[in-house]
Symmetry: none
Subunit: 157 residues, 2 copies
Amino acid sequence: MIPTFITRNKQIILYGIALAFLIILLKWLELRFIIMDRQMDIYVGLIAVVFTGLGIWLALKLRKPKIHTVIVEKEVFTTNNQDFIVNENELRKLNLSKRELEVLQLMAGGLSNQEIADKLFVSLNTVKTHSAQIFEKMEVKRRTQAVEMAKRLSIIP
Amino acid sequence: MIPTFITRNKQIILYGIALAFLIILLKWLELRFIIMDRQMDIYVGLIAVVFTGLGIWLALKLRKPKIHTVIVEKEVFTTNNQDFIVNENELRKLNLSKRELEVLQLMAGGLSNQEIADKLFVSLNTVKTHSAQIFEKMEVKRRTQAVEMAKRLSIIP
DNA sequence: ATCAAAATCACCCTAAAGTATGACTTTAAA
DNA sequence: TTTAAAGTCATACTTTAGGGTGATTTTGAT
């Protein structure tokens, strides 16, 4: 990221200027007070304090902020769940064949066995066989139960 | 928070110890090299570097991390949509009686007419009469269609 | 008190759904 | 290529669902 780079460079430039200014300040102080043995402690202490402050400022300015990301999961309830996602896991568990799933989907649409047969271009008996297989695999007794279960398991919308 | 307090105090104590150690180091250096005007710069520079480092370390240790809260909207697929809201509007339109709605709800649960009759303590014929009324009012032919429609209209979960 | 709607139940009949079994073909995998 | 699963269809039978009609009782509103 280019803006981040510029920002960081600016900081370094600022630090350089500050450092230069501090050196000048030190030289000035050196000339002002004739440094004696006794005054040495105060001078060194001052330098220590100033540079500690500089270090703190530096660290605060240059360091990338520690971003402690708190992810808050917010539940979004979709009233009209048009973007229905099939629960592939449950679907696999049921072990329904392609044709059986088709029949189940049409069942859920409220179609009769005859209507399903017409739609799939097969005989009524075939649909009955499929539905019998579906009920066995889903461990239900009626088509209404099969549909109810399929919806609950998110196999059909 | 008490642990946070202790932690912060520990840091201050450590800083104090470090500071004391540095002062001792400075005194030792002071005695070691007879500080001359020329050596002064080096000495001061060393102090500046050390205390800048100390300041940086201090800031890094003591500063509270910036907490960046990211709210992520996550779609939650509730298998048991307990917070189901009945579409009173559609329900009124259908003009179903109390009993008819009960039968419809049990139908949606995949129950047979006989099972519904047992659950409501009425005869099978009564359930048939009710269901016939339901189909007429909903303008459907089968119970599967009635259930499908009722779910679509948010009359039942 | 009256009246209509709701709720109850019965009988008969048909349609649809579901069960059981067997057989044949197609398809995909070992 | 063999083999199992899937898909197809049929026949016979049982169960459940649904349609039509009529009747009685309960309930709530005017």
